[in-house]
Amino acid sequence: MSEKNNRIPFDENNYTHNIHRNNERKLDRRGFMKTLVGAAGVFAVSSLPWGAVAAKELMGLSEKEYPHKKIADLNKIGIGEAVDFKFPGEHDDALLIRLSEEKFVAYNSACTHLQCPVFWVKEEGEMICPCHHGKFDVESGSPVAGPPRRPLPTIEVKVENGAVYAVRVKRYES
C-alpha cells in the first residue's frame, strides 16, 4: 500500500484515481441527513424575501403618492366609453371607463390571473380578459367569472379643469 501511495501513477488532472474503497462516492446516511439540513437552510433563506416584502406591505411603505397624470379631456370620452392609459409607470397599463356623466372608474388593466390586458365591452357592461375569459365587475373591479380570484387594483381618478387625472393606485382589500 505504501509503495502504491508514493508512486505517481500517471499524469492526470482530475484526481479521481485515489478512490478505491467500494461505494466510496455513494451517499451514506450521515451525508443524506446533512443534505436534508442544508435543504432546510435553503428553504429558510428563500422564505426571507417573502417575509420581508410582506412586512413592507403591512407597514404601508409601498403606499406612495404618484405624480398626478392627465388621462384625457372630458369632452373626448363619451359615456360608456373607455380610454387606455399608463399609470403609475410607463409600463403599467390602465383602463379608464366613463360610467355616467359624473362617474369615472379606472383600473390597472393587467388581469389578476396571468396579466393579460383586460378590455371594456360596452355592450355587455363588463371588463373581459381575452386570455381565459375572466370577467370583472366594472363598479368594483372584483372578478365575477373565469380564473381570476383577486380584484383589479383600483386607480383613483379626479376630474379637474375639464380633464380627468389619475391620482393614485388604491390598495385593494383582500
Binding site: R29, V37, A39, A44, S47, W50, G51, A54, L58
Partner: protein, 69 residues
C-alpha cells in the same frame, strides 16, 4: 424505536413541513394576507435550527454509540 431512525424521520418531517409552509406562505402572500405570510415565513425560519439541532444530536449520539461498542 431505533434512535437513529427517530432522528432521521424527524429530519424528513422538518423538510416536509418546510415544503408545506413555503407553499402556504406564497399562497397567503398572493392572497395579500401578509400577516399570515409572515407567520409562515417565521415558521420556515424556525425549522432550520430545529433540523440543525436534530442533526447535531444524531452526530453526538452516534459518537456515544461508537465509544460504547
Amino acid at each position: 424505536m431505533n434512535r437513529r431512525l427517530v432522528n432521521f424521520i424527524s429530519l424528513l418531517i422538518c423538510l416536509f413541513l418546510n415544503i408545506v409552509f413555503t407553499q402556504k406562505m406564497v399562497h397567503q402572500f398572493k392572497f395579500e394576507n401578509y400577516d399570515v405570510a409572515i407567520m409562515y415565513c417565521v415558521l420556515n425560519l424556525i425549522l432550520f435550527p430545529i433540523a440543525l439541532f436534530v442533526f447535531k444530536r444524531d452526530e453526538k449520539q452516534s459518537e456515544v454509540n461508537r465509544r460504547e461498542q
